[in-house]
Subunit: 249 residues, 2 copies
């Protein structure tokens, strides 16, 4: 449903947050870990490991932005954290090449069931791209593996920064040759959208209630959010097909 | 035909020069100019205008690299030169909005007849991307207009530089997360390939004898080049379909 009712008719490109918004990172990582566990004949709390793994990357982006560490890609930060988790979760049976192969699980994340079909429709009317803190190599591999039909791959790496830095939002706008109000950010995370809005971009909220393993129904969540949403959300959609419907793509 | 016979089995990505290699910029620009001429009821030497237009952009990239001017995109340099050519070719009937629309002819260039089919095959086996001095917005619009199925759009703009700067070749390699020998540059221009080779990338030469309006047959040209080619060319293909054949894609 449209919320703050800004003029969305000038939107020419939609750029998507990826982890959580386009792909089910947590479910995918847990499945990869379960496969490793089955092979090694071990069981662990794979959900906790997935959360800890994700957290390493997330904290890493914060540390880069705070100047506490030099630039590092998602691939590098994923590997650093995985090496810690190998000890923490007693995965000493994994050799170095297996650790590196497991790290590429982030290149193979599974899209939500509506993602490919929705993006394929949106691509007919809009330029569709990524706007992720994942590195370009990761995003390209993910797209090829999952069939995500991006027109353009962009991420923090292009601007040597990370969301929520304005460099990333405005860098993407500039790279596309548009004005901020001609670019919409689609994301499952309200903070991402708040920052996009502050930089003058349009925003679409696509709740993904199962991202962190929860069980809320999207419809309840949307009803609640539609009630409480601030003016930094221009549009709420239940999934990418609904987004395509609302944008008449 | 393979020439210097390096190991090409590790090539994972192919990045393409665009103007001249993927699209027929000169023929496309002449057709756009002819349409403008027909509407205005005027005739000019459109081939000369196209060459002069292209030259403005080409010289602009040289000036940026030499530090003689600040960074400017292909779009900006195309527009600057077009405004000069408006006087030079007596096109005063064109208003400012028509000039700006005509400038976007570079976003609508027509691919060579083998380009889309060849890229579609190559995409099954390799990451395929642009490596152009055109700006990203131009390249994205061209891809959507012409159906070029790029996995990733890259150009000098990503690295605030222009080919033949090593920043562009090595920047693309880094952005993809590969080593130089894992990336092949495909181009119709030997200087581009020479520079790619100097930076450690693999190279494929695809002669486009009609680029500048000539009439040499590709087969003769290939025979001659195969004879004279230096060791900076790893492979010569008659077109993108032949490239796909040779790389077993």
């Amino acid at each position: 449903m449209p919320l703050s009712s800004p003029d969305l008719s000038e939107v020419k490109a939609i750029v998507f947050d990826v982890f959580g918004t386009v792909v089910d990172w947590r479910g995918s990582i847990i499945r990869e870990l379960e496969a490793v566990g089955a092979r090694l004949g071990i069981t662990r709390d794979w959900g906790s490991l997935a959360d800890r793994w994700r957290d390493g990357y997330y904290q890493g982006t914060k540390d880069v932005l705070a100047g506490k560490r030099d630039w590092a890609t998602a691939d590098v930060m994923h590997l650093e954290r995985l090496e810690l988790l190998k000890t923490e979760f007693d995965l000493s049976a994994l050799g170095q090449s297996e650790i590196e192969e497991l790290n590429r699980a982030w290149h193979r994340l599974t899209p939500w069931s509506d993602s490919v079909a929705g993006l394929t429709r949106l691509k007919q009317k809009f330029i569709i791209g990524t706007l992720s803190n994942g590195n370009n190599g990761l995003l390209v591999h993910m797209a090829k593996n999952a069939g995500l039909p991006w027109d353009v791959i962009m991420g923090g790496e292009n601007f040597a920064s990370y969301k929520p830095s304005p460099k990333v939002y405005l860098g993407a706008v500039e790279l596309l040759g548009y004005q901020p109000h001609e670019v919409m950010v689609a994301a499952a995370h309200l903070t991402d959208l708040g920052n996009a809005h502050q930089n003058g971009l349009r925003t679409a909220f696509i709740p993904r209630p199962l991202e962190f393993g929860g069980s809320d129904s999207t419809s309840e969540m949307v009803a609640e959010l539609a009630h409480d949403a601030g003016d930094h959300i221009d549009l709420i959609a239940t999934d990418f097909l609904d987004l395509a419907n609302q944008l008449e793509a």
